[in-house]
Symmetry: D3
Subunit: 248 residues, 6 copies
């Protein structure tokens, strides 16, 4: 049994609250246990310079932690005057992951920006962000769709993410902060509703890992992500009914 | 009657939720209507370089808006690489206001940092931040005090803030965003429980104002702040019982 | 009597020298006692992006202190790579104050930038800057006007600024550096020729102040500003004769 | 057959030149085909602040591309004033990978910085960098070791890296730039001499991938890395003889 | 005859006003025609990190132009967030030039910073700055010396600077802005009272120059600098009497 | 005899390798002894904003040292977030020098950027850079010319650069790092094939120098540059045959 009483293959309690923000085109407050992230989706009717004139849209993501989201207060990146490498890495990951389930052609010349702001952190902030940002994106696309914007629905599948790791000899699902800091292998996995991999990032800084350990980690992540996508479907209900309906 | 149905001298509904954050020494989620600010207080057992060796403490504040706190998304200051003048002005104001009711000598050589992060904005974010940050500060000081830290209680009085403005001929209390953008005179007032002024910042960029208008604005602010402090007392209950007990 | 021999309600000697700079459209060297500020006005036939296409002009201000304007040398903000919060706050204040007496519609699509560079500082640099910048602005507008540029004269009134403060029990006008650092209440006031308030910024960081103290401070500031505007009228002479002639 | 005539599972010609730089404690010029990286290792007898007093060392990496390493010239990051997210991500990866085969305790309180500067780029700059940086690190550690510095040899195993990807239906090893830009799945793998995984970063931005594809990619990478490590052993000869001799 | 009526080998009118600033240890307002520079010398009883513990002092210089010193307003470097290459080049030159006539050993462990702020520019701002900064430095050293600080006087000689250039076929001394922008060869020369060269920076971007032209330029500069040093001696009078008295 | 066995007027061994980079329009690897610089020329069919619409081209240069080009590792300027004054000064010098032998009108509306990256430093990096960048520029212009681009050939003469200095009583040519750090006078000279001066930058920070010393330095530099240009002619062969053929 884990320090918080979970089984090795058990997710933390997940909650997804829709529409916490009155201004955004889509917004979600998501929690994986004590990790809480506010995800907002902003739709703008223009694309970044490098995408202009291609008739395609763009999905962009930004990630930040409030200074006291963590046990020890962190200096704000705005006060430092620059983003840390960690932040850049995470926001690039979130954007890339979401684009994998969006048909940018079908989206048309508009940009959707997903802001993931971590209100409280207890491990897994990037996987929580991806899972919540997908729902915020779905809400924003649904809202656009009510105006009959899309011939072809631009979201091609569901998408969620979870972390897995090895502590001692055990493979654990959805690590909290405590577990994360003790894990010798740490992996973040992003998968689609069709159980395909979008991102796999495994790191054995403390101890390299074998092919067998790798397989176990992937299996655990796959099961966890299936549960998370179930939860997303449930929460979105009708609002998610056109996701994946276009044959790509 | 105002667009949201309020009387000229009526505050928006105020809610103050204690302890939304499990890591911070003090934390508050405060709302003035649709303006929502998360305030956390962080205690550190050291002071900034310019305060060293004086046996005194320091109170510091930082302020930020989430990018989609507003109707139109704002670029993050961390991405721009610098703070805007508006942010600097506001966080200097919050810090200065809070220090006016703290006996830095009694606090001892420690720093309390108040982070005010605006989750959703609808006018009055700086006054909401000051009012909420005071409560977060009180919680952090109370927590320190449980260890019998203070001979003399370092918080000398309650403190709250509200905006007032002139639209047309009417003096309005606690402007929302819509009213704020139409006001020809705009004033932010910070006062103590003893009804003394700590900060008065009045601006008549659109139209200079007379002494009589000024007096009306101050009277309206004074009444509003009295209500806000009533609310703070109520929410803090026992936790605020030592505030102002030391004779300064 | 004050340390420099002044009465409580007495200004420091004020001098305003016109045209110290041969390049600028308007320029003024102003001194309040030992505080010396060089103010230049630059006219450009374009407006900032956010003002484009509105047929209106813009007034902008920048403020800076030479590194050895002060007793102890300050690091240059250009070397630090960023403006301090204090500088931003002051230059926003100067711009806002000047715009309150300019009819931007009448000015037409042009920008006037007021640069206030403090050559020597002895308290009251922001009030000296506003008072001097107004005169530099008037010179620049007069110069434009000689070409019959304006149907309606864009400057609607005179404008000056002074500081007031409380030391011990006394209300003092136009604080020098020494007094400023001892004051428990510190207020900057900007008023027009019609004796209306444009900005009131009062701070009681050291000790909150009562309504009565507030009233005394405002009365003292009002008298001081009246004298300063008298001085501005005198120095400008004919050059200021169209100021406020348009009915707004 | 591939555009450059290689088989699907064939590496590009690899060359590793030792000691191209006369100042560095270790240096290597490595080429994977037309991708050329200069790797230098700098030894400093101190550790970063966060490592102080732990009796352990640190391995740090920095990565950069010369502006005309690429087909189209890139602006220098020094001129932009900041590192791109891509650069940060890569240098974090290189550092993390190398640390996985270094016993920081055995290294003692010193820092080895690996600078990887891409002189010419044709795909796979990060995998080429890791493979070359390992050799530069080995040279620097060997040089330290000649002074009988280490009781226990701090490098615990060999380490190399290669990219794999899917184009059409084919799994290709060691993608050049052309192939990289067409790949729908792109994966970078870092492995040790003991055939354990240190980093696996797979991305299916263009098209999510199945478990079977994943397995094929890993198998191809594993074979490629085995060849690269063979090459490293050969080039280092005697200089690498103590690598992995300490039982960890 | 030149556009301003001067002979080819004639300096512009030079004026040097001592003590324009009440805070600085030395200060000078210097004008070469319409070029006006405020030079202040600040003495600090410490040296930069790279000079610590050597028992020697340091001379540092900073240079800046007010935004409207020029015909067209320049953006402030503090607003841009960085110094231009031109500014860095000039302030490095000023510091290097002054250090050539200071015995850093005799100065002792203190830093003198020369701030050269151009109030109005009409060509030759760097040569005016060097010539003025030398006088400000002399005042500061004299002030230190009144406390019998120096066994050996640390200033070893006088120092001044002037520009020369070629327009058409003529060699002109002390170019104003207009001449400077037309010159095909442009040279700045710094010399000592003993007529030795400290810096020679000649540029023929528009047209390379021959050895003969070079000789003529140097001869003209030498004569001009001799006059400038005469002027410095005159202005300093008794205050400069110990300059160069120590045998180096 | 010098520490490396050279005569006072002897250059270090010079090598110039053409085309080390497959992407650049022109590229050269140049060595003056142990100083190695990679120079690439990039042609872009546009000019910087300040040159637009004049029908002329532009030559731009950038300079950088790899962090371990030197004995002690230097922090990257990209990591610091800004260029040092030294870098800016050098790259301004390289650009200015090259422009002196280019007819910008004949070049047409295009920009050639010369990147000089120091792979290994042993004194004279700026003179090596200029000498190598000229050859890279010649290659790029020759490549453009093969398309019959130019009516008039835009390179008007050869160009090279060398350092000279005084150590003790001796005038030395082409200083290495060791000599450079001991020299009391240090001079960099840039000359054309027609033996005209383009830049002369002499510094006597340690000890001012006389006119005679100056003449000796120039004579030594002139001879050294003549040899370097001989070498450039030899290496370029046919590729340089049109240089200077247009009468300017």
């Amino acid at each position: 049994m884990r320090t918080d009483g979970r089984q090795t293959a058990e997710l933390r309690p997940v909650s997804i609250t829709l529409h916490p923000n009155k201004h955004a085109e889509g917004s979600v407050l998501i929690a994986f246990g004590d990790t809480q992230v506010l995800c907002t989706a902003t739709v703008e009717e223009r694309v970044p310079p490098f995408m202009k004139g291609q008739g395609k849209g763009w999905i962009n993501a930004e990630y930040s932690m409030l200074p006291r989201a963590t046990q020890v207060r962190n200096q704000r990146e705005s006060a430092k005057g620059k983003l840390t490498g960690r932040t850049m890495e995470i926001q690039r990951l979130i954007g890339r992951a979401l684009r994998s389930v969006v048909d940018l052609q079908a989206l048309g010349e508009r940009t959707i920006t997903l802001d993931c702001d971590v209100l409280q952190a207890d491990g897994g902030t990037r996987t929580t962000s991806i899972t919540g940002a997908f729902v915020a994106l779905a809400l924003a696309v649904h809202k656009l769709d009510r105006g009959n914007t899309f011939a072809k629905y631009p979201i091609t599948d569901f998408l969620a993410s979870v972390s897995v790791g090895v502590i001692g000899e055990r493979t654990l699902l959805d690590l909290n902060y405590d577990e994360d800091s003790k894990a010798k292998v740490d992996m973040n996995v992003v998968m689609t509703g069709a159980r395909k991999f979008v991102e796999v990032q495994g790191t054995g800084e403390e101890a390299p890992f074998s092919r067998d350990e790798f397989n176990e980690l992937l299996a655990s992540a796959e099961a966890g992500i299936a549960s998370l996508i179930e939860k997303q479907r449930e929460v979105l209900g009708e609002l998610g009914s056109r996701i994946g309906t276009a044959s790509v």
